[in-house]
Structures are given as C-alpha cells and as structure tokens.
C-alpha cells in the first residue's frame, strides 16, 4: 500500500474520531431535548436533524460550500474565528461531517431516552440527584448500548463519506484527501489493484461495524437486563 493511501487512511480515522467525539457532545443534548419535549418546534428540529438521511450529500455540500466561502457573510465570520477559510480544509470537513452524521447519533439516543422508565426519571427528582449523577450514574449506564450504536454508526458513516467531501474538501493530501476520495482517484487512474485494497478494506470495516450494531449492541438495547 502506498504512503499516500496510508495517509488517507490515517486522515479518515482522524476525521471520523474527531467527528464522533464532537457528536457525542452535541448529539445527546439534542436527543434529550427531542425525547423530553414534544412541542411543534421539536418536530422541526427533528426534521432538520434527519435531513442528511434523505438529501443527496452533494446538496448539503453545495450549501456548506456557499456558507463556508470567504466571500459570504457567515464565511467571513467563521474565517475570523478559525483564522483560515473553512472550504478545502480539515476543519471545514469536520463541521460538515458532524452535520452529515448527526442523525446517526441523535436518532438511536432519542429512542433510548424516550424508552427510559418515566418513574426512574421521577425518582431522580425525588432523590434530588446532581446533574452529574443523573447523566453519568443513571442515564448513560441505562442507555449504554444505544450510545455504543450511536458511536459505531457515527464513526462508520463518517468513514464512508464521499459527496460532501468532494464538494467542500476537494482532494488535498493530508488535509482533505480521505479514503473514499483516494479510492475514487485510483479508479479514475485505472489503478484497480490499489482500488481493490481500499474498497475491500472499507467493505470489511463497514460489515463488521453493522454486524456489531445489529447483532450485539442492537440486541442488547432491546433486552436491558441487569441480573
């Protein structure tokens, strides 16, 4: 395997890890709000969060491209914050990935939070538990399998990203040249052997991930038992 391919793998893992970590901070908050409040606004938020599931990634990429462009108002603002244009940069890719994989974290967690026994939540109030205890002693342990599903799906979905990266990341080695782009390059240049290596690796990784999601953690989240 060429050093270019190895660096693409490394970059992909870095992007997927960073995306997953960010999503683990944002996702549970949104999922909790959505699970607990059933107002009209929450349906709108739910719809927005779910958009990446149905939109072609290129649509999301196109709008993010416009948004991140240093010529646009928000783009200038973000450039002032990050010190560099977000288009064709790792940071831009990271923000796009977070948006793109958000439903894969929010949806399983929202379902898990909603299925929590209402009386256990009341008990937290009766015992006047601290926020720390509520989150880390009760809620996360009770919904741990769903957290594992969310982590796996977010990670795998980010690894498998292509359309969004193409639109706003381009093909810059060590910055935005992720696995799927490298694979595309190999096919374009008819280097099928190198393409096979990457493609098969991705296939195996995705299969194992989904097997874990459905077979192990998915099953576990349906049979929460502690005996």
């Amino acid at each position: 395997m060429s050093s270019d391919d190895l660096s693409a793998i490394f970059l992909t893992l870095k992007l997927a890890s960073a995306t997953t970590i960010l999503l683990l901070i944002i996702g549970p908050l949104i999922a909790w709000k959505l699970a607990m409040n059933r107002g009209k606004l929450s349906y709108l938020v739910e719809a927005v969060v779910a958009l990446p599931l149905v939109l072609p990634p290129t649509v999301l990429g196109f709008y993010l491209l416009l948004l991140f462009s240093p010529n646009s108002g928000p783009g200038k603002f973000m450039m002032a914050i990050f010190g560099e244009p977000l288009v064709f940069s790792f940071k831009g890719l990271l923000i796009a990935s977070v948006i793109y994989s958000l439903p894969f974290v929010v949806q399983p967690l929202q379902a898990a939070f909603r299925s929590l026994d209402q009386r256990l939540l009341e008990n937290m109030d009766l015992l006047n538990l601290s926020v720390f205890d509520r989150i880390f002693t009760i809620i996360i342990p009770l919904t741990l399998p769903s957290f594992m599903v969310a982590i796996l799906l977010a990670f795998a979905h980010t690894v498998g990203e292509f359309g969004v990266v193409l639109m706003i990341g381009g093909n810059i080695p060590d910055e935005t040249r992720v696995l799927s782009i490298a694979l595309f390059d190999h096919v374009e240049s008819m280097n099928y052997e190198a393409a096979h290596e990457l493609a098969f690796g991705l296939l195996a990784f995705s299969l194992i991930t989904l097997f874990l999601v459905y077979g192990y953690f998915g099953k576990k989240s349906y049979q929460l038992r502690w005996t």
Binding site: D117, R119, L120, E122, N123, D125, L126, L127, N128, L129, D133, T137, I138, P141, L142, L224, R225, W226, T227
Partner: protein, 370 residues
Amino acid sequence: MLLKIDISVSRSNWQARYTCEISGARVVGVIGRSGSGKSTLLRQLAGLDVDGQGDVQINSTLWQSQTIHVPTAHRNVAMVQQDYLLFPHLSVQQNLALVQKQSALPIADQNQIIDNMGIASWLSLKPGQLSGGQQQRVALVSAMLQKPRLLLLDEPLSALDFKTRSQVLQQLKNYLDQYQVPAIYVSHHLDEISSIADHCLLIQNAEIVLSAPTHEVLDHPKLEQSVSAEQFGSVLPIQAIKFDHGDHIMQCQIIPLADPETSGTIEGQTIWAPIDAILENSQLHMQLPAKNIVLAHKPIEGSSFQNCLSGKIVRLVQEFDHVLVIVRVDGHDLKVIVSKRAQRQLELSEQQLVYCHTKSVSLLTPAIAH
C-alpha cells in the same frame, strides 16, 4: 406537622378535589378504595404532577399556590411506591449511596437503619436479584436515609410477607418517632393505619370526605364505603401473650378499654391468632373483618371456631341488603355484618348479649403497636 391542602385536579373525564387542614399529627393515614385517588394525592404532594391547581402548605413553607410550584427536587420529599423503584443497573449499595451522599443523618445512624431493616446482607446485589418484598424494603430504607421533610408512603409494605410486614412496620414506626419525620401513609390495611397513623383521611371518588383522628375514622360509618368488603371491620389492640410451638398459634389477649358503664378493670378476652413467635409479648393491632364474624346467642360448641368473644350489642345499623351490628367487646366496638335474614331469625336487638365467633385464620395479619 401542619399540612394544608387545597388542590383540584382536572383531567379528561376525571376530576379530583383534595381539601384538608391537619395540624399536630405526625403520621397521616390515607384510606380509600383502589382508584379513589390516593396515589394522585401523593403525587400532587410530591410535585410530580403539575396539573393540580390550588395551594399546598407544609409547616411554614408554601409548596404550591397560584404563583408558586416548588419542583419535586426542592421539596425534599421521599416516596415509596407499590412498585418500589430502584435503579436496576446499580447494586443496592450504589442505590443507597445516591441518597447517603446528601443525607442529613450521621453515618452511624445511617448504618443503624440499614442494619435494623435487615438489608445489610444484600448490599452487593442488584435489584433484579431480590424478591419484590426485598426490593420494597430497600426502597423504604432509601427513603428513610433521605430523612425527608415529608415521607410519602404508598402501600409501602404491600409486597412483604406477614412476618416481615410486622417487623418492618415496627422499624418504620421507631424511625418516624426517633427522627420526628412526618409521613403520609396510604394503605388498604386498617391494622397498619391503626398502628402507625395518628390522623386519618378518608378518600372517596377523588375527594377527602373525612379528616379526623384515626380512631374516629376507623369507627366512622363512612369507612364502609372506603374499604373493600374484605377489609372492612374493626381493629382491636391486643397483647400477644404466649406462642404455642406445637400448634403454631399465638395466644393473645384483648387490651380492654375502660367502659364507662362497667366500673373497675376487666380482664381482656382471649384470641388465638396466626401470629409469628417473634412477636410474643408485643402489643399489636388485630384486624377483624366484619364479614368473617359469626354471631350466636350462646357459645358454639363442636366447631372449628377458635375464638369466641362475648359482648353486648350497642347499635344496629340497617343497610340496604345487610345489617351492621356493633358489639361492645371489652370496651371496644366490634363491627359485625350479618344478613337481614340472620338478624330476623336471631331476633338481634340492642343491649342483647351475643357471642362473636371467628376462625383464627380469618383474622387479618396484625401490625405492631409499640
């Protein structure tokens, strides 16, 4: 404690109104049939439901008014419910630790409570490994460790067997006395209410129909509509005297009440009851369901009735399809339900001497008095 409640709850096709003012009582019993709105009252007091309109005041603190609704977490109430909720993924010890962290009780007292309630050996187990009764005891301990401002108990002993029920009730009573914790105690069991509550609320159709000292409520005609036919009856204070190890039965004596008509002390009559040996020498409240008592003009011989109490009929209350006969036994009013036909055949009338028979096994399990 001073407790002022004036709340109304409106839900689709269901309305409740709770109004009462209790001062001085420390343990308030709540009696009512299932579905009469007892649990709703407790949930309102805990602040778990926010749909109630009106005022709730405990001592000098306002928990609810037109403009205020103190959230549950800030009320410092503890609640033990029939379904004894513990966090299923935490061990008993971890469950208790959540409370102990912020308990106002000294550690030594906390450990004492855990020991007294007999749960020390389960600390490392998960709730799923305990029986329903054991989980209920842990939930009760958790509530006790909290040393709340108000302890809300909704059938807290419902999952316990008879023997443990008496012991746990005794421990609970000691705890409430020692730490001066006010409590609201909901139960179907009149003996529990009788032994632990000094004041009592009768709830019918989501309304408080009677708020009075416990002994008045237990003798009140409205009681009959508030309890199931199996539970309706009298509660007598008794002394467990001697356990017969051969027959596994306790010899007890009614603790007589001075009767204004008969001067001087009277010896209480004997009752044989299915009470555990461990309760020997303790004072108990024994519930005698009114349906289970058989009246006769003279003691019935050659039957399996173990108990025969003599008394005088003081009152006959004609109901639609039966007669409620009040018999004074050792100064206590014993309620007996007979059919109209039986009353006519026996020609029962006031001031008449009668014998009240019961089988030992039909006596409802007693709760400790002191």
